[in-house]
Symmetry: C2
Subunit: 333 residues, 2 copies
Amino acid sequence: MRNTFMKIILPGITTALAAVSIQSMADELPLPSWNDGNNRQALLEFVEVVTTPESPDFVKTSKRIAVFDNDGTLWAEKPLYSQFFYVVDRVREMANEHPEWREAEPFASILRGDLEAALAGGTNPVLELLMTTHAGMTAGEFGAAVADWFETARHPVSKKPYRAMVYKPMLELIDFLHENNFKVFIVSGGGRDFVRVISESYYGIVPERVIGSSVKSGYELRDGKPVIVKLPEVDLINDKAGKPVGINRYIGQRPILAIGNSDGDFEMLEYTTAGAGRRMGMLLHHDDAEREWAYDRVSHVGKLERGLDEGPRRGWKIISMKNDWKQVFSSDL
Amino acid sequence: MRNTFMKIILPGITTALAAVSIQSMADELPLPSWNDGNNRQALLEFVEVVTTPESPDFVKTSKRIAVFDNDGTLWAEKPLYSQFFYVVDRVREMANEHPEWREAEPFASILRGDLEAALAGGTNPVLELLMTTHAGMTAGEFGAAVADWFETARHPVSKKPYRAMVYKPMLELIDFLHENNFKVFIVSGGGRDFVRVISESYYGIVPERVIGSSVKSGYELRDGKPVIVKLPEVDLINDKAGKPVGINRYIGQRPILAIGNSDGDFEMLEYTTAGAGRRMGMLLHHDDAEREWAYDRVSHVGKLERGLDEGPRRGWKIISMKNDWKQVFSSDL
């Protein structure tokens, strides 16, 4: 916030604003849901040194870029990615028009309610599902369908709306970075257009700052109206080595801060922290079976093995959900 | 600017800031290089109605998106696109390592200095050139090579640096839109990574707000360092119907203002102006042989025919370089 002030204020009113600024800082310490351990201190120190003009590590605002993974980093990914539950609901909706799905995998397993079996073949069949169920829709129709779904969908375990599955400490961190004139991007292995529907309302991140996996699209006139239509062809798989590729495509600059939670984020952290100057990479470790889930090396989603083994010696910080966070979810949802 | 003030100021200092705001407005009328005709008025009125909270056409800042074509809209594109001259210089640089180029088109024509002949096959051979000469380079190497080139390159007619070929009235418009909390994107048929090198310094537009044609890229470790490498495969041709596709990919929302100068921008304007609420489409008409160039229906670059024929009845404004602009280029460069 202070930098914004410095640009706008004029000499005569500096004192008044400085007083206001100090007052609001006292009212609200940054990152209140983070326990005051090494990781909270590391975040505060990092932001301080890259935003202080006199600091040797100062980074100008146009290059102050932070990237966050989404599933398992900003919101819960257990028992399965929320987008998977969206697709499941859509397959059920469309099943009457597709009798052949009763025989074909992974549709058949989904229609039997056996989601484990539907996922047995890995993520490719799920991607195929996604494309099959959405090809031919316009961007507007897809966005409306996803928005409708989020209105009523409930997380299968907590029975709460998905908005309630967002991590409060991460929302505070995004706000804190925005206040310090960072540009915060989501870099998700999930669907770009799926996450864009809720990114502004859930996270305060505008749609153009959401990078994710995508299908190709085309432009056409339907009933005389120009629309974007989803095509049944993969455009980008924004996972693993695809994350730095997506970052280069959408941002064109190397971030200075990257936060993820799985080995799908390894290359994103590797790319980010290899740049010149001060950099930071962090991995959220799901070690809190009581308040959320505990999983790492063996998991259908969010597998974290290489990151735990190599991360610390690469200087990456491991955030412990159990020890670093006072609160996991916003209680008021 | 006013909206930024309103969010930050606190009751006690409102009066002081309001006075400052009025003072700075009096010092500097918006769009000073635009003659005060219909087009300047249309721009001022459009920005007024979408930024005034009480207006029925008010648009919140996250959706206040403007898109500009680059070649022929923000800077001169005659006698040929600047990127083409960059590629020509690069082909000459690399010719010794490629004796086969002396026989193969479009290389042979370029090496003979016959640029017209090199372009005879349309834009595809140029694209091929671009890919051939850059495949295998890292994103960092490419950016550095382009930045180096811009340091010394001179426009073949004016003999000035390319920075001097930027249109002053368009720079004023970009600034005016930024002051009114618009998000301004470049949507270029030219190379995304080429334009990103100079966008911030020339136009005040950060790299992540540059959308353009691109090749695919990959992620790899070179000498142990993670890098993005350009691949010899087209990713997106961001021209004609590719422009709305690019807008959907990179922005995910329909712009409210689109400005171009050629039929390559037709679909971008069509897509933009077909959205709900107040919209604006504009085409810059190069009708100023004295201060720049005069061309439209017959031209290697920036062909404008359908836009002139259909634009006005679609409500698009035709900007006359000759009549609407007091000054074309900044004289102080």
